[in-house]
């Protein structure tokens, strides 16, 4: 049994709820025997009358429990001094004392991952049912038109504002709760395939508009998805740099193989991806460098050693994020004590790394993860080729899924250390942290970043300035700010390698060096 939420008015669990001999079933007295037979491990007690509702309160009170009147959003109370209000607060505190993160499990059902799944699947079922009805009953009705105008918009709308839950939010909830997101996506894709719409892209769900606009959007998404052939496994990639590099590589290959130069769709996708690449690469490389330099390590030597480890797995020092105040021994301790990582390392023959060098440990695990991923991808490719199946429909094995978990855990450890320090910095400037995040979120969304991405960027104030400019300026001007045009030109005209793209990024970064130094100075002064 897994928790969905712990709210007093709607405590819910995923799937069925198992009962045991501490639980009680109340049923009509004439059904006691059969109820006991069907539930031998549970206590059964009968009641006289037509329905159970008159007995539930008495039954709880009989067992010494305090009971309250329930409203739609919690216990009914008149004021903050009301006993039921205080009691509800106590409930939350008692859960915290029990070690339960009430924030994590406090979603109402309508904002939960479970509701998200429910709505998506229901809409697909409805579409399917309607499709069958139309096919059997009214052959003269243009089925495709009905699907587009009545059904697909429903599928889209349910993924976003209608059930109040953002896709990324749902994904985050799912991963936090250890839900097999990959399996779920596969299920949805299979369902969609049964309707002949397997190429719909999941990310583009927050769209409200007229039917014509929705139709247009669907067609656009199908087109982009066909072009990109995005592997669903990339949804898990914790390092956006790698994801984007892979995407660029794939787009480039696709463009070459299908001679798509000058194709508007291709250019659109490429611009989008390169923009993200630039933002993600922003300043990550210097964080670890600062730390090492403070420790008196010769950075050139160290960088060379690191790159020897990183380059074979498609990374280099710039891809790392961390903080100069990081306490390696704390993180190392956490990693050593983590059961999932322990098991993963044991299964994959990764040796314990002596000392306090978190990066070595991290690199060791990342290297193995990458190795498994590459191997698995090859196997999937081969299987797809042999069987003729769509690669998205092939189920990856457990070792692959473990990679994903370990990746996520490692990312969290790093983020843990970074966040409180940045918050401290913001508060020192006299700003309210919560208000600050509220203001920041729409700006980040506008450039396709999440708060989490943002927290991994060191020079944040510099980025904020650029974001403001990004939003204010025209698209063309904005692209000039980031030097994207230059990158795209270089990339398209010369078939530049990824390393060269990164070099171009370095040029842009260096051009902002003076500005960045000023920012750093200001931060240090604060």
């Amino acid at each position: 049994m897994n928790y969905g939420a712990t709210r007093v008015e709607d405590f819910f669990v995923r799937g069925s709820a198992k009962l045991n001999n501490n639980d009680w079933i109340l049923c009509p007295q004439e059904e006691i025997e059969i109820m006991k037979k069907e539930n031998p491990g549970v206590n059964v007690i009968g009641y006289e009358g037509e329905n159970v509702i008159n007995y539930t309160k008495k039954f709880m009170e009989m067992f010494g429990y305090q009971t309250f009147e329930m409203g739609e959003h919690g216990y009914i109370y008149d004021s903050a001094e009301s006993y039921s209000f205080i009691w509800q607060k106590e409930y939350e505190q008692d859960l915290v004392n029990k070690g339960i993160d009430v924030n994590l499990f406090s979603n109402p059902h309508f904002l939960s991952w479970e509701k998200f799944i429910e709505m998506e699947l229901i809409n697909i079922d409805k579409t399917n049912a309607l499709y069958k009805l139309l096919k059997n009953k009214e052959p003269e009705i243009p089925i495709d038109e009905v699907l587009k105008t009545h059904c697909l918009p429903n599928i889209y709308s349910c993924k976003g504002p209608v059930c109040g839950l953002d896709y990324e939010d749902a994904k985050e909830q799912a991963i936090k709760k250890g839900i097999d997101f990959l399996k779920y996506q596969k299920q949805i894709r299979e369902e969609l395939t049964s309707l002949g719409i397997s190429d719909l892209q999941f990310e583009n769900r927050n769209f409200e508009g007229s039917m014509e606009q929705v139709n247009q959007r669907i067609l656009e998404n199908i087109s982009i998805e066909k072009f990109l052939k995005t592997d669903i496994t990339e949804q898990y990639e914790e390092d956006m740099v790698i994801t984007n590099i892979k995407r660029i590589k794939r787009i480039k290959e696709k463009m070459q193989s299908e001679k798509l130069h000058g194709d508007n769709e291709a250019e659109k996708v490429l611009k989008y991806v390169v923009k993200h690449l630039i933002q993600d690469l922003h300043e990550r490389g210097n964080l670890y460098k600062n730390q090492k330099e403070e420790e008196g390590v010769d950075w050139s030597d160290h960088q060379q050693k690191l790159n020897e480890m990183l380059l074979p797995i498609g990374l280099d020092c710039k891809c790392f994020f961390g903080d100069k105040n990081i306490k390696p021994e704390d993180i190392l301790q956490q990693i050593n004590n983590n059961d999932i990582i322990k098991d993963f390392m044991l299964q994959n023959g990764i040796q314990e790394v002596e000392g306090e060098d978190i990066l070595s440990k991290y690199v060791g695990i990342k290297a193995k993860i990458n190795e498994i991923e590459i191997q698995k991808t090859r196997e999937l490719d081969q299987e797809a080729e042999i069987t003729g199946k769509d690669i998205l429909m092939i189920e990856p094995d457990t070792s692959y899924e473990n990679c994903v978990k370990v990746n996520a855990i490692l990312t969290e450890y790093i983020a843990n250390e970074l966040t409180p320090q940045y918050r401290e910095y913001i508060e020192k400037t006299g700003k309210d942290w919560e208000q600050y995040l509220l203001e920041l979120t729409p700006k980040l969304s506008a450039i396709g970043m999440t708060i989490e991405d943002f927290m991994q960027v060191k020079n944040k104030s510099n980025l904020i300035k650029k974001m403001d400019k990004f939003i204010d300026d025209s698209v063309e001007q904005n692209e000039q700010v980031y030097g994207i045009n230059k990158l795209i030109e270089t990339y398209q005209d010369t078939g530049t390698t990824i390393t060269e793209v990164e070099k171009s990024y370095d040029v842009i970064r260096k051009s902002n060096e003076h500005e960045i130094e000023n920012e750093n100075q200001q931060i240090e002064e604060l």
């Binding site: 709210r7 501490n22 509702i53 007995y55 709880m60 009989m62 429990y65 739609e72 309607l130 936090k176």
Partner: protein, 149 residues
């Protein structure tokens, strides 16, 4: 101290034995035999032991579990401009209220349900403690910023 739920269970079994049948809740309340124990237990309920989950339903629990509507394969019927369609109910969750009974609202009516299941919260939490591990800093990254403390 003995588990209060166990104490009550033993007392009810003792009364059943004495009566030579399974007493209903109406009879147990009427007998007044449980009042002292109830009072004693109520005084000793502290911390997480104060909470109980209540679930009311029209569907019988089976095989020692409360099944979801998805598992029971309950279908939903809906009128469309093209005729009636029928599809699966995909609500694969089990819902409870804490120390209270659900009240009817816009999305449902629970006034005439036949069965109720009562489950001590602590019992439920202990079974699932491994599912509840989480990382506090992740909260900061939730989009529901109002939850940030």
């Amino acid at each position: 101290m003995t588990d209060p739920t166990q104490q009550m269970k033993e007392k009810i079994e003792e009364l059943n034995k004495k009566a030579g049948k399974k007493l209903t809740i109406n009879e147990l309340i009427k007998s007044g035999e449980l009042s002292n124990l109830t009072y004693e237990i109520a005084c000793n309920r502290k911390g997480i032991d104060k909470y109980v989950l209540m679930h009311v339903t029209d569907y019988k629990p089976k095989g020692d579990k409360i099944r979801t509507v998805t598992e029971k394969e309950i279908k939903v019927k809906e009128e469309t401009p093209f005729g009636e369609i029928e599809y699966r109910n995909r609500r694969n969750t089990t819902h409870f209220t804490v120390n209270s009974t659900v009240t009817s609202h816009f999305f449902g009516n629970w006034d005439n349900k036949r069965y109720a299941v009562m489950s001590p919260l602590n019992n439920c939490l202990d079974e699932n403690k491994n599912e509840l591990r989480c990382n506090k800093s992740r909260r900061l990254f939730c989009k529901r910023l109002s939850q940030i403390k």
